[in-house]
Amino acid sequence: MYPPKFGYVIPDSLDEALEFLEKNEDARPLAGGYSLIPMLKLRLIRPSYIVELRRLNDLHYIKSDDKTLYLGALATHNEIATDQKVKKSVPVVSAVSSVIADPQIRNMGTIGGELAQADPVTDHPASLLVTEAKVKIKSKGNERIVPFEGFQKDIYTTDLKTGELIVEVQVPILKGYTYSYKRMEDTAAVAVLLRKEGEVIKDVRIAASLIGPVGTRLREAEKVLMDSKGDSKSIEEASKKAMESVNPIPSPRASAEYKKKLVGVYTKRALLEAMGGKQ
């Protein structure tokens, strides 16, 4: 399978890339290419130009301060999964990155590309929703920071406008939380982040992804557990709420009904694991 013909642009700086993208509406940025190149091969898109990002080192970093982890748009899944700062400060992000696709795809695929693609089969949203991460977006002469929640609007649809690039993902560093991530490849996943004071759950965040169309926070389920001791009755109740509040799209591997049930089961398992104290 050959991609259709396109021109290829190698910018020397982020500004050059932004300028070119703004002037050429049907140009497409290329990060890891593991979503873009398959789409080109299938002729789902026919951009006039492909704008290479991989050599733009100012998008390729993992940094942190006391409060926030900063992931440059070109940080690969594997870099995020293996970085010690990420493991220590926001382990749920590291855990989610480490199970994406396979090692070769994790070596090329980037967090910026993943979020911009908004494929229904995407793991990152689960961890970015429970941590309440933000996305930093740039266009020529402009910059804005938006919550990740709401950034992905529908399948293959995001808040990005022509000429805009994701430049960074900002993840708050939350102390004293435990987490869990349960998933079936391509089918359903649930992330839980939880903080207890003594026996009592003082904060709990639950999010589902992979079920399509986009990742979602399961707030109805969270409410059940807030200020409870996480006894088996409230966990059952929360799992039921989780199941009821998702609206999955069927895939060749799983019906919508099956995905719904998985969300229920994974919510329960993730809660139990997080309560068991996995830091």
């Binding site: 290829y8 593991y34 991989r54 090692p103």
Partner: protein, 163 residues
């Protein structure tokens, strides 16, 4: 900024298996095709959809699927293919282990499987069976049932210790 128009070819340079190569590619050419045309036909095309791993090579130290990389994108990179593993007649320990443990039948998946094992063992010289399975999860084999491949990687890890 460099702009290569649709009909133009870009001059690209790669260092493949230690040797410098220079060629011209259209922007839409895939790295796997470019490599095969340069003579590295050990880089196989299985699925062409980034699922099977037959096209796995090492690019700038990382294992990648070359069917999902553009030739222009790889300009300036250092590439290792299956052809670059043996030292003259002397097979690489991973190749030897695949041979001894019958880690292949038809052999179609083998170059990709070996390159992926190479990357795995570079990053984790002493993998558990679980880690081996995860490490080759992006490589499909239709013949072996994987058990002998896993045994071969274990044996290779054993032999590469202290090297």
């Amino acid at each position: 900024m460099k702009v290569i128009e649709q009909e133009q070819k870009a001059k690209v340079r790669y260092k493949i298996n230690g040797q410098q190569y220079e060629t011209e590619v259209e922007p839409r050419r895939l790295l796997v095709h470019v490599l095969r045309e340069l003579g590295f036909t050990g880089v196989h095309i299985g699925c062409d959809t980034s699922h099977c791993g037959a096209c796995t090579i090492i690019m700038d130290g990382k294992s990648v699927k070359s069917c999902t990389i553009l030739g222009v994108e790889a300009d300036g990179s250092e590439i290792l293919t299956i052809e670059g593993l043996a030292q003259g007649e002397k097979l690489h320990p991973i190749q030897e282990a695949f041979w001894e443990k019958h880690g292949l039948q038809c052999g179609y998946c083998t170059p990709g499987m070996i390159m992926q094992s190479y990357w795995l063992l570079k990053n984790n010289p002493n993998p558990s069976e679980e880690e081996i399975k995860e490490g080759i999860s992006g490589n499909l084999c239709r013949c072996t049932g994987y058990q002998n491949i896993i045994d071969a990687i274990k044996l290779a890890a054993e032999r590469m210790k202290g090297q």
